[in-house]
Symmetry: C2
Subunit: 336 residues, 2 copies
Amino acid sequence: MKLIKLKKNIIKIFKQHGLNNIDSSICADALINAELVGAPSHGLSRLKMYCDRIKKKLINPKPRIKIKKISQSISHIDANNSIGFVAANLGIKTAIKNAKKTGIGLVGVKNSGHYGLSGYYAEQAVKKNLIAFCFTNAPPAIAPFGSKKKLFGTNPICFGTPTSSKIPFILDTSVSIINRGKLRVAASTGKKIPKNVALDKLGKPTTDAKKALVGVQLPIAEFRGSGLAWMVDILCGVFTGGNHAGKVKDPFDDFSGPQNIGHLFMVMKPNLFVGNYNQRINKNIKTIKKLPKLKGVRKIYYPGENKYNRYKSNLKKSIVIPKNILEVLKKLNAIK
Amino acid sequence: MKLIKLKKNIIKIFKQHGLNNIDSSICADALINAELVGAPSHGLSRLKMYCDRIKKKLINPKPRIKIKKISQSISHIDANNSIGFVAANLGIKTAIKNAKKTGIGLVGVKNSGHYGLSGYYAEQAVKKNLIAFCFTNAPPAIAPFGSKKKLFGTNPICFGTPTSSKIPFILDTSVSIINRGKLRVAASTGKKIPKNVALDKLGKPTTDAKKALVGVQLPIAEFRGSGLAWMVDILCGVFTGGNHAGKVKDPFDDFSGPQNIGHLFMVMKPNLFVGNYNQRINKNIKTIKKLPKLKGVRKIYYPGENKYNRYKSNLKKSIVIPKNILEVLKKLNAIK
């Protein structure tokens, strides 16, 4: 489907579900971006879920979002159970504004929902020539080190910086070995997942994505990854006022209440301490790219480079929508 | 050796190397703390190295440290090649002061050196009921993903928060699978290191610590760990004005100039967004500790708990100093 047509379609769907024009457009942009960067697990495959949650009154299509100004640098947002895209869009924009004014912007968001890709928000800050951290917690997926029960989300750590080139440095890494979104895609297509990335619900290693979904995903690097997931849960849940300690509901499976996810955005001016940040980062990246490569490696990439390249190349094409999702789109579109 | 006697001894050594009373005491405290928490790789085993670098005029024993106030929240420190402990001590204290005043404190430090354990500084903030991030870069140890040459340091990520109990939550994790300090200890004692944590200089897997030291340490989780190491290099080097992209000199082996390490401290008030942070974190930790455990696991610990317990138990004992280090202490003490 052509991009313009797809966007119009998604906007129409969200508007039919009660969102206003602007918010529908924000959601459409985020979903299409996920498709373009090659992360379909965070794209159209989630559209039905968002709509289901709106219909069940778990996402508020007409939220009254409150922004509380704590200081020139710090703001707190109560998203009133808005769709995550809208809350996060406001969150990063507020953090950018604060950072432009004072050098550093810190924004905590509570009562939000799944916001898609963290990198999408970091990129917004980087495009304004700012450094950004974006954190969000997520529904239970990872067992804390020592436990056999999942509790932490895949809790991504996301960091972005300008690079002096048009391709931003965006590290956006979950602390699970495999992304939950990829696991969902594997479960729905019946593909096997790699060994040693997940356990079934009895605690046994499995390569069956469906069993892994009801079981436990393994964190990167055992106690280190478990600790990083815990850190993100504290920053996004305990600190912002969002749900935490396993209370964030799974958006696909748990309709017993709103998610109340928390996000934390931290944005800084790159030239706070040095006058020539862009030159310095340029040299940093150049030096690393020139290093001797491992056998079979053609090029050393920095985080975000591959995504950007996929984005650029996909932008010229139509988006190929899998049949099952096309069906969903059609059905959703019919709803009044 | 009794703690008081050991501290007196270390202070004497640093004073004989030109540091003033206060700075010598700061260094002694940091080194002894490393021994007490069970991280001897960051303790007395480094004393000779620090003294060697002072003698070779690579560490400035009488630095003129400059603090530049960027705003009420943000400060920049030029440590004038001071010993890392002194620079980092000033860095975290400044960040704490800024955070107490404005809710958030950000301090970049350049022209510093190896500062020991990141957790030691995070703990200082946590003791003042603050949340802290501490980052430092380090000499080349890890090859960027795709390269066979080491360039990133083990670049720890450190996060601390009050817990409402006397035991702080301190995540202090290098992004290499094995700590470089542990590798050094293994090399000096001839112990084998685990498989799959390092390569020799030809790029082949090795369990020989000496070969690993001149080879490459592997990052946690491949491109994820490599990306995190890159992030820390950018934050501590590119951003603060410190060395970066492999330019931080190895303190043990490279006497061609000062290290010019960079650190970044970010400190926040826990009650910025919620009124009951201590209650919330208490509930978070309690919930996780109560989870069903894996076979053979007696207790779920949060990051920092084990270190604290070791500290408490070691505090009652004398510190057992290995013979080779005792020899070093004796020799250093004799220097005028």
